[in-house]
Subunit: 216 residues, 2 copies
């Protein structure tokens, strides 16, 4: 019984990492598709979002089964509760990658982003990818030093988000209404992505230490 | 011990309803402030968001304590797990009300929304309020018929969200860039609000029936 339990706990942990890795693939492809107007890559991100959703569901089901059958306590309980809380944020990060891919598809064959903002969005995309890479590492290693690094990336993305608004509201902005709408939405999606990364990173801290700080 | 347990479960249930009621107050005030450029009401929503966050945290802490100490099973387990999952969506709905209030404050003394869109946003605001009212009722009564009503409201809000884009991308749109950005963000906030309501409603179904359908 004890052995089954430990194996199930291991499964929770590995499915969580697997889920984060699927999100890493999704946002890496979505930002590449977005920058290069790559419609095929965008379609792939949109199609693959279902796997992220399914894995999140299977992780939730497993977690609830463990709670019901094994009634874990202490650190084991935190692992299971942590997974339950993190899966929905990871699922949501997958949705945001999907939204960025959808903007790409919607605007194809045009570029989704007007010229003056491409550098800013390239940077935002890179930072989103970096955030999930560090998050995968954090989930794998529980090296809590990574939490501050993820926070720092989020700060950079927040600053880039403000820069997008400065740009579109500034006098040199030459985009049309549609460019403005797309830039506003795309910036919001990129910014929310790292918000979720920070929120998950905080939950890893809880998982490791029992120090519960769940405000996103 | 059993009595304490039942009381704690009752507490989980009542804190969840209380949290939903705070969100109801927040979105009611936020949409009123937004429509009338009422800066005082907007400030109040922004200030009061902290109470929503605090209540969500206390609900999470209680739920985790119950899991650890009482090791609930079956329906009791679902109540606790359901509360853990719903609290973060409710907290997020509070954030969205706060964002709508912040748009109001940012634009004051101007109206946050350009003339041609005020009717659409008035309707969206009313529908958001209606969604959370039905959600409060659903949490209180577990009358599952309300779930479809909440879905229907979400469909209406999705249609209004599309109407906003049709309007700003249409030939008659006279708003400036700032109007376009505000309309895009405000529409997104309103639309996400009812998405969360649907997501929570599905979790109530799980709570009542054990039928787990957690994809948002």
């Amino acid at each position: 019984m004890r052995e089954v339990f430990q194996q199930e706990l291991g499964d929770v942990q590995s499915r969580l990492v697997e889920l984060a890795k699927l999100v890493e693939v999704a946002i890496t492809r979505a930002t590449e598709a977005f920058g290069n107007s790559d419609i095929n890559l965008a379609e792939q991100v949109i199609e693959d979002d279902v796997y992220i959703d399914e894995l999140a569901i299977s992780l939730d089901e497993l977690s609830i089964q463990i709670l019901a059958r094994q009634q874990p306590v202490a650190r084991d309980l935190r692992t299971v509760v942590g997974a339950l809380r993190m899966s929905s944020s990871l699922e949501r990060m997958g949705d945001l990658a999907d939204h960025i891919a959808q903007l790409t598809r919607y605007r194809f064959p045009e570029k989704a982003i007007a010229k003056g903002l491409r550098g800013t969005f390239k940077k935002m995309g890179e930072k989103d990818v970096e955030a999930i890479q560090k998050l995968v590492l954090l989930l794998e290693t529980q090296n809590l030093e990574l939490i501050d690094e993820i926070r720092d990336i989020d700060d950079v993305v927040d600053a880039l988000h403000l820069r997008v608004f400065d740009k579109v509201l500034g006098e040199t902005w030459k985009g049309d209404v549609s460019d403005t709408v797309d830039a506003t939405l795309a910036s919001r999606y990129h910014e929310r992505f790292t918000d979720h990364a920070v929120s998950i990173a905080k939950k890893v801290k809880y998982l490791a230490t029992g120090d519960w700080a769940p405000v996103d």
